[in-house]
């Protein structure tokens, strides 16, 4: 994991309109979403489930779910991309929880995450990104790392606890209090 790659970010796609067209049965709209976002979604899923074959299966299942659930998306409440990533991430988390054995510490993977976070922070792109990066920066270190492990790596409380060598209850509170502090900062 190194810095961001923005080469496809210039291609315009109205995700909201595309998702609404999916709800009306327009398969081209689903294809457009797939084409525009597939590499980022694949990266998200692969990071969580780790195995390429499984990641592709998750991506397949997630796109069917996007197709079926498109009618539940409410454009008045938020972005279609946010909605799509939730569907895809949750699908990946389901797959991960289904195969997870006992939580293990993996320092190499953790290093990668911290490096990716540092590189991400230094790229100055959208206002939303800057706000999030700054608010994450303000969190206490352990809270921030717990949130990163949970979001990017899809770790459960148990996995975060194993990685950080902290008691389960403490980790639960780091994540929850971390998110509450994040909301205060972001609002």
């Amino acid at each position: 994991m190194t810095t961001m790659n923005t080469e496809t970010d210039d291609l315009p796609l109205d995700f909201e309109a595309a998702l609404l067209r999916c709800a009306q049965g327009d398969q081209y709209a689903l294809r457009a979403i797939y084409e525009r976002e597939r590499r980022w979604l694949m990266a998200t899923v692969l990071r969580i489930v780790r195995r390429r074959e499984l990641a592709e299966e998750v991506l397949h299942d997630a796109f069917l779910q996007i197709w079926r659930k498109a009618g539940t998306y409410n454009p008045r409440l938020g972005s279609a991309r946010g909605w799509i990533y939730t569907v895809v991430r949750h699908r990946a988390l389901n797959a991960l929880r289904a195969i997870s054995s006992s939580p293990e510490r993996d320092d190499e993977r953790y290093e990668e995450l911290l490096e990716a976070h540092a590189a991400w922070q230094s790229v100055d792109d959208s206002a939303e990104k800057r706000a999030l990066a700054q608010c994450l920066e303000r969190l206490e270190e352990q809270r921030r790392q717990s949130v990163l492990l949970a979001f990017v790596d899809g770790y459960s409380h148990e996995q975060v606890a194993a990685q950080l060598g902290a008691p389960l209850g403490t980790v639960k509170s780091w994540i929850r209090r971390g998110l509450i502090a994040l909301k205060e900062c972001l609002s």
């Binding site: 496809t8 294809r31 590499r39 694949m42 990071r47 990716a116 979001f151």
Partner: protein, 237 residues
């Protein structure tokens, strides 16, 4: 329970989006979302605010076969959708088996279809669509009228491993633990006297769990939840 306190509610919504809720808590959020506009707002807030974090990773190209497989699967979905007539009414619901938030719409559809033609003046009727916890699949419908029968209707056949059985449970809002309504066959309608339920009210939880062949030995669920849902009131004309 989903917290009432606004700060804790926001935290629950955040943890739902991030994915750190227990599966029971996650399911509770999924069930509450279609009817809780405030919670929906929180969830959308978080999925947008955290979205930028997905850009920490380097993009990875999936193999071209992925889209071909998606296309193939879409054809099957479409075939199912258009194959509705000539089948029992519940087979026509294939389309609805997929969507989480469609449950209440489905309840309305069912309210129109299920009303017995020659029924006497009906009591309040309740319906629940029992879905798999990941919302991929609606497997059963619960239909019950005050003073009458509860019917548990399969939408397909639930796979049950050897030496296992399906056990049916209900839990009223605020009740501490679910009450067993007994073992049920995986592929047939089960009828139960409503009088034998602890209560019958809106938002009452019904679920099917996988238990040992002779039922849970301890009087509460021990196995995984296969299908779960809450009642809504069916509008009478």
């Amino acid at each position: 329970m989903i917290p009432v306190d606004p700060v804790e509610r926001a935290a629950t919504a955040a943890e739902y989006v991030v994915g750190t809720l227990s599966s029971a808590e996650h399911d509770e959020v999924v069930l509450a979302l279609p009817r809780d506009a405030g919670l929906q707002q929180e969830v959308y807030f978080w999925q947008d605010k955290l979205l930028a974090m997905t850009r920490m990773l380097v993009p990875v190209e999936p193999s071209p076969a992925v889209w071909s497989r998606i296309e193939q699967s879409l054809k099957k979905v479409r075939a199912h959708r258009s194959a509705a007539p000539a089948q029992p009414w519940w087979e026509g619901l294939t389309f609805w088996r997929f969507g989480a938030a469609f449950a209440s719409v489905l309840a309305v559809v069912l309210a129109l279809q299920l009303r017995p033609v020659d029924a006497p003046v009906p009591g309040t009727r309740y319906l629940a669509v029992l879905q798999s916890p990941d919302k991929q699949d609606a497997g059963w419908i619960v239909e019950a009228s005050v003073g009458g029968k509860l019917r548990l209707i399969p939408l397909g056949t639930t796979a049950v491993a050897p030496q296992k059985a399906l056990q049916f449970w209900t839990k009223a809002q605020g009740a501490g633990a679910p009450t067993s309504l007994g073992l049920v066959p995986p592929d047939r309608v089960t009828e139960i006297d409503v009088a034998s339920l602890p209560t019958l009210e809106r938002e009452q939880l019904f679920e099917l769990t996988l238990e040992p062949e002779t039922g849970s030995p301890i009087g509460r669920p021990t196995g995984p939840i296969l299908y779960v849902g809450r009642t809504v009131v069916a509008k009478a004309n």
